[in-house]
């Protein structure tokens, strides 16, 4: 154990080297790739466990010196990092094992595992980073891995577009983060957490607020919160296990982690906290309503992820960052599970459209059981893990901002409703599939069972987690928990009853259909953004291209070339080949030289 307690950097180094090894031998590894890659997440889990038990290993190396200031690369495997390492390691290991079955027919199998390894390394680096520079490097690396994995089927235009969109939208947040880093650097002279988050908190309120808002924007982009959530539903173009790992359990939660990590800054910036609360609440409620109208099983889960991250942001907004981390952990378990189960369903039934499923419970009993475990946890029905963490989120928000708490309760009811609707549409009723579905092989079901167990029992981890993070969670309040349970059950019943694959879309009135279409399109945010952001930006780019690039820069370059060409053409005339013309030129030259000599000597 000692090497694990004293060398937390191995959590980054091992998967990184494995990624390099896989990438170098991309034609060599073949079926062996998963077993090579799997060593990465196992190391991450080992380091997580060791750090949690023995306390943080930390180190720093100076990277760049600028005058008296310096940028260093630092890490510190403290309790928060250790918890995150466990989440990353466990989900990554499950996803890698699951993918052995799910991806076995894909070309680019080794590339897939190399990217998963690289992602694991980057994410581990992100959580153990002890300064904003290191964190930002890893932050960008996970973004790049996300881009590469969403575009895994890069010859499919929709996947390539989705990858680009995800990259560009998160870039907005990343730019804000750079600004925030600059603000902090200027104010404190460094980016290390010990410096910028120290007990002294040497910032003026305006500086703290500016930096916190910038970091919040970065987190909003990464964690797909309103209004930067538009990339996540399209990120579902990637392979389903990737969605489970990156777009449900780990990377999208990095925004929540970032705010938890830089919490002292937010403690000094009430405006940023309020913004987080407002955005989180809007996202939680809005995305849950959108999830209710989706027809694609992965889109349901994508909007659900956005909504659940909104819950975490709301908790952050009222200062309960430990609660947000607890919900992050349970969400990683049950949403990772739901995505992998969806993968199993897609694998077995050959479709991801809920209208073409139905009755899968009979043909895929293990998958169905695991899905139900995840859905119960998502819906917040006790004793599943999701109940405990969501209840803590709701009650802590209710104490500080009752209006937001009520909105979150409504979102919880919607959550239960869409979970029940998707469950009924996929697994119950008559089969509507074209081809008979088949149960997944055990290599895929194994990870599902592990995650299902976690999704059901992780609720008991709340107490230990709170003490590891240096706090205690308040006990369940009977009133709030009771209300939440009643709402969850009501939502479940309503969602179950509303789940009619044909009727809901054909029998309904025109007004209701319009309403559902608006919900299904994400309440038009995407259209709004493409109309009022993308179009003007594209037009500006075109104008700049025409005026600046074509006219000024190309004009200058081409003008110089044309001048040289013209002068050349003129000088060609001189070289006529006529000896007498040359003699005349020579004579002129002599005369000029003599004249010059005479004039100079004079």
């Amino acid at each position: 154990m000692s090497i694990l307690t004293h060398s937390a950097y191995l959590a980054v180094l091992v998967p990184l080297l494995l990624a390099a090894l896989l990438a170098v031998g991309v034609r060599l590894w073949g079926r062996g790739a998963p077993w090579v890659a799997l060593a990465g997440p196992l190391t991450v889990i080992g380091i997580g466990v060791a750090s949690l038990r023995a306390g943080g290993d930390s180190a720093r190396i100076t990277w760049i010196r600028v005058g008296e200031r310096s940028l260093s690369l630092t890490y510190n495997a403290d309790a928060l990092a250790a918890v995150m390492l466990l989440v990353v390691g466990v989900v990554a290991a499950c996803v890698m094992v699951f993918s052995i079955g799910y991806m076995h027919r894909e070309k680019g199998y080794v590339r897939y595992y190399a990217l998963l390894s690289l992602f694991t390394a980057s994410m581990a680096g992100l959580v153990i980073a002890a300064d904003l520079a290191t964190l930002f490097i890893c932050w960008e690396l996970v973004g790049a891995c996300s881009f590469l994995l969403i575009g895994f089927w890069y010859d499919k235009p929709s996947a390539a577009d989705a990858a680009r969109k995800a990259f560009m939208v998160t870039r907005v947040g990343d730019a804000a983060m750079l600004v925030g880093m600059a603000v902090l650097w200027r104010a404190s002279g460094g980016l290390e957490f010990s410096l910028i988050l120290g007990a002294a908190a040497p910032f003026a309120p305006a500086v703290a607020t500016a930096a916190a808002v910038c970091i919040l924007i970065a987190a909003v982009g990464k964690s797909a919160q309103f209004p930067l959530h538009i990339w996540l539903p399209e990120a579902m173009e990637g392979p389903t296990p990737v969605s489970a790992l990156i777009h449900a359990a780990t990377m999208v939660a990095a925004g929540v982690f970032l705010i938890a990590r830089t919490w002292p800054l937010f403690a000094a910036a009430p405006a940023a906290r309020d913004l987080a609360l407002v955005l989180g609440t809007i996202t939680a409620l809005g995305a849950a309503s959108v999830a209710l109208a989706q027809r694609d099983i992965k889109k349901v889960l994508a909007w659900s992820t956005i909504s659940q991250l909104g819950f975490m942001f709301a908790a952050l907004g009222v200062g309960a960052w430990q609660v947000a981390i607890f919900h992050l952990v349970t969400h990683a378990a049950f949403k990772g599970l739901l995505f992998l189960t969806a993968g199993s369903v897609i694998h077995g039934s050959g479709t991801q459209d809920l209208r073409e499923m139905g009755g899968l419970a009979g043909r895929m009993p293990v998958t169905a059981a695991c899905w139900i475990a995840g859905a119960v946890s998502l819906a917040g029905i006790p004793p599943a893990a999701g109940f405990f963490s969501k209840d803590l989120v709701v009650s802590s928000v209710l104490h500080s901002a009752p209006w937001a708490g009520v909105a979150l309760l409504a979102a919880s009811a919607l959550t239960a409703a869409y979970a029940a609707r998707a469950t009924r549409l996929a697994f119950f009723g008559a089969s509507r599939s074209v081809t008979p579905a088949h149960e997944a092989p055990w290599i895929m079901l194994g990870p599902l069972v592990v995650l299902a167990a976690a999704a059901l029992v992780l609720g008991v981890a709340g107490g230990p987690l709170a003490s590891a993070l240096g706090t205690t969670f308040e006990p369940l309040s009977v009133t709030i928990a009771g209300t939440a349970i009643v709402l969850a059950l009501t939502g479940t019943v309503l969602g179950w009853r509303s789940a009619r694959p044909q009727a809901a879309w054909t029998v309904a009135t025109e007004g209701w259909r319009t309403f559902m279409r608006a919900a299904a399109s994400g309440w038009g945010v995407d259209a709004f953004v493409s109309r009022f952001v993308v179009t003007p930006v594209t037009a500006t780019a075109r104008a700049t291209d025409a005026m600046g690039d074509r006219l000024a820069i190309d004009g200058l370059a081409e003008g110089v070339a044309a001048l040289a060409s013209r002068v050349g053409a003129l000088l060609t005339e001189i070289q006529s080949g006529d000896g007498q013309w040359y003699a005349g030129l020579m004579a002129t030259g002599v005369v000029l030289l003599v004249a010059a000599a005479v004039w100079l000597v004079r």
Partner: protein
């Protein structure tokens, strides 16, 4: 001074001929005129100076070189005339 002006005039006249006459024979003759002008200057200045023999020797040398040049020139000229080219504007290209 008189000889200087005279020899310059002769060289200039020769140069004018080299530059303007289109007939190859006339161009060649004009070159000889220029050489003559230069030789005149050499001889005249040498006679007025301290070492007259050197100047006259150079003048003779120039005449000899001029004759050699004229011989080569006439050989080329004959060769060109055989190809039907006796004018300067017909020999503007090296090949052909």
């Amino acid at each position: 001074m008189t000889t200087l002006v005279l020899s310059c005039a002769i060289v200039a006249a020769g140069l004018y001929g080299v530059m303007t006459r289109r007939d190859l024979v006339a161009v060649l003759a004009s070159v000889e005129v220029m050489l003559g002008g230069a030789s005149l200057l050499l001889a005249a200045y040498a006679a007025a100076g301290t070492a007259p023999a050197a100047g006259q020797g150079y003048a003779l040398l120039v005449l000899a070189v001029g004759a050699a040049g004229a011989a080569v020139g006439i050989a080329l000229l004959v060769s060109l005339v055989r190809r039907g080219r006796s004018r300067t504007d017909q020999i503007t290209e090296v090949r052909g």
